[in-house]
């Protein structure tokens, strides 16, 4: 059998991802996580001195804390298998990427293992976040200086 012919066979045998089902599960899981986030925000607004605008930061930290607990007990990957992007896209997914790498590489020690591999998975998010923010801000600065837009 030739390569091209085999690739056709492979295409016909391999099941396509269940697009609709996966999207529905992602919507459900992602929605739930954000709703929990909303409850946490509300908690900080009511019981601490946060406003709607500033409650985002403690909310994110708290969500990452939840991610640590779930990751440590091996539950986050079960949520991940079910929810797909629904659990990967929220900041808990970012936390899961950092924390799972930290737990995994503890066997090589705290400096070389945990320290060296903490951002193994999540590093690209930080990289592209910072670089894109830099260029977006730079472009906006130039546009403002040229008088095209205002702050």
């Amino acid at each position: 059998m030739e390569k091209e012919q085999y690739q056709q066979l492979e295409q016909s045998v391999t099941p396509k991802p269940p697009y609709f089902k996966n999207a529905a599960k992602a919507f459900f899981v992602g929605g739930i996580i954000c709703t929990i986030g909303q409850a946490v925000s509300l908690f900080y607004i009511i019981f601490f001195d946060f406003t709607e605008a500033t409650a985002g930061n403690p909310t994110v930290s708290t969500m990452v804390f939840f991610a640590m607990i779930l990751t440590g007990f091996g539950l986050y990957k079960r949520i991940g298998q079910f929810g797909g992007a629904g659990s990967a896209v929220p900041v808990t997914g970012f936390g899961n990427a950092v924390i799972s790498a930290a737990i995994e590489h503890k066997s090589e020690g705290l400096v070389l293992g945990v320290g060296g591999n903490l951002f193994k998975l999540a590093g690209s998010v930080v990289l592209f976040g910072v670089v894109s923010a830099f260029f977006v801000a730079l472009i906006k600065y130039i546009l403002v200086t040229l008088g095209v837009v205002s702050w």
């Binding site: 986030g37 900041v91 976040g129």
Partner: protein, 121 residues
């Protein structure tokens, strides 16, 4: 009050569906998907569109990873407004520190107390 929860659920859910489609239809790895969404968040904030979304959906917009790109850009823009070009660099982490510092601290603590476990369900 109740409506903010509903909006958080719907907006957060929709952002996750976009991520799922990037993975399933676009064949991206999770790392590529999250990197793409962060860039999208940064661009949306540059166009001034992310803040209204947070105002509308609360945690539905602050919890997804897009908000990371948004707050990096937000910090950079705020400083750039005050201090000019240098502010673009110095302001970057002004607003965003919470997600990263929480991940680092909890990552370290997690490594101290947990072990990797290979269970399936």
């Amino acid at each position: 009050m109740v409506m903010t929860f509903v909006f958080a659920f719907i907006v957060g859910g929709i952002i996750c569906v976009i991520g799922q489609l990037l993975m399933d239809v676009g064949n991206l790895t999770p790392a590529h998907t999250l990197s793409t969404l962060v860039v999208v968040g940064a661009i949306l904030d540059g166009m001034g569109l992310y803040e209204p979304l947070i105002h509308f959906a609360g945690a539905g917009a602050t919890v997804p990873i897009t908000s990371f790109g948004n707050s990096l850009t937000h910090g950079a823009l705020a400083e750039a407004e005050k201090h000019g070009l240098v502010g673009v660099l110095t302001g970057m982490f002004e607003v965003t520190s919470s997600g990263i510092s929480a991940a680092i601290v909890f990552g370290f603590i997690g490594a101290l107390i947990f072990k990797p476990k290979g269970n399936v369900d």
